[in-house]
């Protein structure tokens, strides 16, 4: 008995607290979310993979002799009013819309997380100032600024578009992270780190941030769902991408034309359904993740 005996195996359900495995388990348990995730991964692989072999220039090539073809052997999803292959546009459009969604989510997420973290961690005047900034951005007329941007910026690309959209979408996550950081900084482990001589910077990023990781993953996922459709509204108002950069929004907004809406479903409906499915799938995954982070709602 001459042994340190205190070290007991606490429990058999030893699981890594990384959060990731909890998230993963929740998804696997939730059939809908699992199917959604598989669907998403397949879509992404398909869309990004196949678009490597597609020639965007060829797809958006106008063909006067193939205008408004309904789906047939040559054009699986028919053609649009420029005689362009809708299926090809759908693939590239999905890729572009996904890229925009991901970019916007990442950019706005990064800004939001940084500001929220700093604001929540330091609190006080910094927090006050940051929150006023958030308030202010909330009331900015997003649409107008985007419209101005579209008209004055000559390089209207996926990148610049994502940047400008991100400028108006970081506030939500900043608020969330801030409130979590405010809670987190009251926890003793943060105080402990201070007494152990860690710098604020270190504490914020090495200590606090990992503890917010699951909530960040969840919100980013849900944001991604929202951001995929973000340019469709602008396309509808006529401020979307040029047609040479197909996107789901561009395809859907063809439905603006009553003739297209009524008689030529193949142009807009697949895109509309695809965006719906994508958003639902991402949302399903996000909701499952959300349940995972909220112990009380966890299934099983």
């Amino acid at each position: 008995m001459n042994k340190v005996n205190a070290d007991v195996q606490a429990s058999d359900q030893v699981r890594s607290p990384s959060g990731f495995s909890i998230l993963w388990r929740e998804i696997v348990r939730d059939k809908v979310a699992l199917i959604s995730l598989i669907l998403l991964i397949l879509t992404c692989m398909f869309v990004y993979g196949i678009s490597l072999f597609l020639d965007q220039g060829e797809i958006v090539k106008v063909d006067l002799f193939a205008i408004h073809e309904p789906p047939n052997d040559q054009f699986i999803l028919g053609t649009d009013y420029g005689g362009r292959d809708v299926f090809g546009q759908l693939i590239i459009g999905t890729r572009n819309s996904l890229s925009i969604g991901i970019l916007v989510t990442l950019i706005s997420g990064t800004v939001g997380i940084l500001l929220g973290l700093i604001s929540g961690y330091f609190g006080g005047h910094i927090d006050n100032a940051a929150m006023r900034l958030v308030d202010f951005f909330m009331v900015l007329p997003t649409l107008m600024i985007v419209i101005v941007f579209v008209t004055i910026v000559s390089d209207y690309s996926i990148w610049s578009f994502s940047l400008i959209m991100s400028a108006f979408l970081w506030m939500g996550i900043a608020r969330l992270i801030r409130s979590k950081a405010l809670q987190e900084r009251e926890l003793d482990y943060v105080q402990a780190s201070k007494t152990l001589g860690s710098s604020n910077f270190k504490i914020m990023f090495a200590q606090v941030l990992p503890n917010l990781s699951s909530i960040i993953i969840v919100t980013m996922t849900l944001n991604l769902a929202a951001n995929i459709g973000i340019e469709s509204g602008l396309s509808f108002l006529g401020f979307g991408f040029p047609e040479s950069t197909p996107s789901l929004g561009t395809l859907i907004s063809y439905a603006r034309n009553p003739q297209t809406l009524e008689f030529r479903w193949w142009i807009w409906l697949p895109a509309a359904i695809l965006i719906l499915i994508l958003m639902l799938a991402i949302n399903n995954v996000g909701q499952a993740l959300k349940r995972a982070t909220d112990a009380r709602q966890r299934r099983g």
Partner: protein, 336 residues
């Protein structure tokens, strides 16, 4: 017989974890008489609250087996409507955390008078208010008229706990369950609250189940004490007997780990309370924490034995129990 208020027989309460049910309260049998305080002690997670909630039938997703007879009425099979008549009237409960037990958006007065309203529908508004003020006075809240219109967050912890008590006693329950009523409070306030409960007991002639992990509180309040470990009652006895002549190794260890005068080294129980999921379902559940006692002395499926009148102990391992000096040595060695 007529003195018997509550009779619990072979009560098991199981929670669903994953695909299986695990018993947080396992085969508990006990009785409570009128005008008696039964203390229940045990470590965190030993199933004290689960037991209390079972008696009140407040679990929403637990499987309850066995019988709970309150005045010979079985609560386990009771319909929701009948249960609602009992709750808050014949039996009432004081909760552990006064900070969260009150509705933050409801006036104090309203929360107390709700309990009255539910069981005395014929009382007029005015009568109710009067009774609430009386109750607030009774639990020692100064300026009750003023507090009546306050909200929970405007009161201190001690005050809130008094409000919770006022709610519990509003209909003069025969059975009062107090689940760690003072854990969240300062010593001085704890003393006041305990005084209050004692006073109320005398006034109401109620049976009280007092759940706590503070042995001092039990020593001051209880007539009889039940010690719980891992969902089971391991020892029940009259309070003096238990404190002076504890039998179960767990009870002994508990008593020994309280800092008392002249004690240089406190006793330590090795290991930790096993979690619900990996409870040994067979054999003495405390066995793993006294490794120096030979396994053979533990019973296969221990039951409560009445060793003396009114003194019950589970598992006969207590007859072989001694505090392990070796283990203390081991700890020292570990350090050096």
């Amino acid at each position: 017989m007529s003195n018997k208020l509550l009779e619990i027989k072979n009560l098991s309460t199981s929670f669903r974890i994953g695909d299986d049910y695990y018993a947080a309260v396992d085969d508990v049998t006990l009785t409570l008489n009128k005008n008696e305080v039964l203390g229940i002690v045990g470590e965190s997670g030993s199933g004290k609250s689960a037991l209390a909630f079972s008696i009140m039938r407040l679990h929403n997703r637990a499987k309850i087996e066995g019988s709970i007879l309150l005045n010979d009425q079985d609560i386990v099979d009771m319909s929701a409507a009948n249960l609602n008549k009992l709750r808050g009237d014949d039996m009432a409960m004081i909760f552990q955390d006064p900070l969260t037990a009150l509705n933050p958006l409801m006036e104090i007065g309203e929360q107390i008078s709700e309990a009255l309203l539910l069981h005395n529908p014929r009382m007029t508004q005015k009568q109710r208010k009067q009774r609430v003020i009386e109750l607030l006075n009774l639990v020692g809240i100064p300026r009750p008229e003023f507090v009546y219109e306050q909200f929970p967050h405007e009161l201190s912890g001690g005050m809130r706990q008094r409000v919770v008590i006022a709610i519990a006693i509003s209909n003069k329950p025969e059975l009062l369950i107090a689940d760690e009523p003072t854990t969240a409070l300062d010593v001085t306030i704890q003393a006041q609250i305990l005084d209050l409960i004692r006073k109320l007991k005398e006034e109401m002639n109620a049976g009280i189940i007092l759940i706590t992990h503070d042995l001092g509180v039990v020593a001051e309040m209880a007539d009889r004490v039940a010690v719980m470990y891992a969902g089971q009652i391991v020892e029940i006895a009259e309070v003096h007997t238990l404190f002076e002549n504890p039998l179960h190794p767990y009870t002994k260890s508990l008593l020994n780990s309280v800092p008392t005068e002249g004690q240089d080294k406190l006793h330590v129980i090795q290991g930790i309370v096993p979690s619900l999921k990996n409870l040994p379902r067979k054999g003495c559940r405390f066995a793993s924490r006294i490794p120096w006692i030979d396994a053979s002395v533990h019973e296969e499926n221990p039951v409560l034995h009445e060793v003396k009148p009114g003194h019950f102990v589970r598992c006969s391992c207590h007859t072989h129990f001694y505090f392990s000096e070796e283990s203390k040595e081991a700890e020292k060695n570990g350090i050096s």
